[in-house]
Assembly symmetry: C2
Homo-oligomer: 402 residues x 2
């Protein structure tokens, strides 16, 4: 079986013309935008040209189906509000080229998917979460984006294309190629990452409520300053988590809202995001306990009200060993010494699909670790290396699930 | 000379009907709102009834003038967006009653003022700053409020009332009665604060710039997280300022903007407010050095870009000794053992007027120290006590400037 690297790169560059940002190779193609829908219709045409049976499902996931039992390869073609050209798109176009080359070679059977709203305009990996049963369509329809538009209203823009959901029993397994979105492969000068597991995530909002006061007339010792509570919490948390975590654990306070947020007013309230990720559920739980206990202690010491929002989370997911092994063997043949096994610190559609069938992921490097930005990029040699590794692995991948 | 406490309280309650919030005694009467202009026209009528010569100047400061050289008494009648009924209004209505009673008694000559935009819809104590020469009208006209309306456009709503600016040489001195806006008098069960000086203020924005990154794929040791820099700065600053300040010094981080402000993104940039106040210019300077040095050290240690905005500031202002002494003597006669000398931690119109003539301030208690809120209040007994102290002091106050 011969993949066509030139055809693959040409499709990949063509895809970034939908929603081109005008800055480098960046794209603006959020889920259900006109650029996203146009890109999906163009991808559907490419799938038809390759002889695949094209199907849009009720949430806008795009499928290019082979007859009978097949290996599913893909990712997503929606982007962040300011996104790169490869995040998601790479996995979809690589699936297209592999399905096309496999059909030209007379097998094995490969189907292709572009999931919808992986980037979470409405939720987290919304399209694959609904398809895999992790999120009900009824619940999803009431999710809203940052402007208040509901998922139900947004997916209506693709209603004229929609057919039924695709039966997961058609597929023997799922493989997703994605950019790493981290620095490890690029720093090591390696081309391929074989993913061992996708980390789990916990996410909530924490609120400290003190007393709003005049910043001129309220002496320091009488203040109950919500920002000071946040700062003390952060300092104590960093100290205490060190005893619980591994070097691969991460935690982030990325959003902070002070009320009322004025120079001359001691802030009476702060609402902030607390997110943490780890490869093991038990450790995620231990981190949660440290976070809740530390917040309670700070609130108690500083005379603050404390509340936690509902905690959202996804469990860590191990990749299927036979599929992992097939990719690792191929990587060793195609790029000896230039690949490694590694964890995925980001969520992917494979997290959801793994609930239904054996699933695996492969990474290619992100230059300087940059993603979710117009500057996101990968060397063409590495893109082609990724294509060649999966082409080499294809017989074993297709055979593993049968 | 006999002041009429009942008439004074009636006027004070009548004034809060302009822009009444419907919550307690609260008012919504920001500068140049229709409620603010209507309140000023009502005050102008009361001044005319008292036999004063009424004048609005080009920025909407309202004057009730006595013939010849006079003592100026007043404050402001605009309010915060969610304000109390006494902040500013008390000083204006007290000036009105004192001028009225003094005219009835045949002297001394008292004029009244209600400055415009003390609450800083456009600047800081805007109306008195322009009148006193601290802010040029040309510069002020380009200041904008939070909705983008310019000061020039806003003051046009009072253009039909406007005459010339009033000559400061008409006045022998200025006295402002104001609520304390802090907890000290209320906690001590005292009725009168004789202000020794108004603290100085410094205010700027500080920016730390690190690297925006994916919160799942960026390991902790490779992050340059702007929120972490802010937290480390705050912790170090609190430690170091303790060696420089007095118990009356205050510093506040009241506004924090993280970029991009998402749960899943390591924040690459933070812009935050840094404000500090103290009664001595030298100490304000020492605090500034600690703030700048600490920020530079944190930026250096954590690999952050650092920038400071222009620093705004007002110097501490000492109240005029003869006027202070006149108020203190009267307080000792009217409320023996129930008054104290104290600093003002808040800015007031007196800060500006002190550049032109001897100026003094007197505080009455704020219940629970609350101000800039609908709940702001003061016991009627304390309001009347304040009126009686200034009435008692009036001959000495009027004599002091001649």
């Amino acid at each position: 079986m011969n993949v066509d690297g030139e055809r693959f790169l040409k499709d990949l560059h063509q895809l970034r013309s939908f929603g081109a940002s005008g800055t480098g190779k960046g794209v603006v193609r959020p889920a259900y935008s006109s650029a996203d829908i146009a890109a999906r219709e163009w991808l559907a045409d490419r799938m038809r040209d390759a002889g695949l049976d094209v199907r849009f499902d009720p949430v806008g996931n795009l499928w290019g189906l082979s007859e009978g039992k097949s290996l599913l390869i893909g990712s997503h073609s929606d982007s962040q509000p300011e996104g790169g050209w490869l995040d998601g798109a790479l996995g979809v176009v690589m699936g297209l080229e592999l399905a096309r080359a496999a059909r030209e070679a007379g097998g094995p059977a490969v189907s292709v998917v572009s999931f919808q709203d992986e980037e979470g305009r409405f939720g987290v990996t919304t399209g694959s979460a609904i398809w895999s049963g992790g999120l009900s369509l009824e619940h999803a329809d009431h999710l809203t984006d940052s402007t208040g538009t509901s998922f139900g209203a947004a997916r209506a823009a693709m209603a004229h294309l929609a057919q039924d959901f695709v039966d997961p029993a058609r597929f023997s397994g799922f493989v997703e190629c994605h950019i790493e979105q981290g620095p490890w492969l690029d720093e090591a000068g390696q081309s391929i990452g074989v993913v061992t597991d996708i980390v789990g995530i916990r996410d909530m909002r924490i609120t400290f409520e003190g007393a709003q006061n005049h910043a001129g007339t309220t002496p320091m010792h009488l203040r109950r300053d919500a920002f000071q509570a946040l700062s003390a919490f952060n300092t104590a948390l960093n100290d205490r988590l060190r005893n619980v975590v591994t070097p691969a654990s991460v935690w982030t306070i990325g959003h902070v809202h002070l009320h009322p947020g004025a120079h001359s007013i001691v802030p009476g309230k702060v609402v902030f995001s607390m997110q943490w990720r780890d490869g093991e559920s038990v450790r995620l739980g231990r981190m949660e306990k440290v976070i809740r206990d530390t917040a309670a202690e700070i609130a108690d010491t500083m005379g603050m009200g404390l509340s936690f929002s509902e905690m959202l989370g996804l469990e860590p997911v191990a990749m299927a060993r036979p599929l992992r092994a097939a990719i690792a063997d191929a990587a060793q043949q195609v790029a000896p010494g230039k690949w490694r096994e590694m964890q995925s610190g980001a969520l992917h559609d494979a997290t959801n699909v793994a609930a239904l069938m054996p699933a695996a992921m492969m990474f290619v490097p992100s230059i300087n670790g940059i993603s979710h930005a117009f500057e996101e990029d990968t060397d063409e040699d590495d893109l082609l290396c990724g294509l060649n590794v999966l082409a080499q692995a294809l017989p074993a991948l297709a055979g593993a699930g049968h």
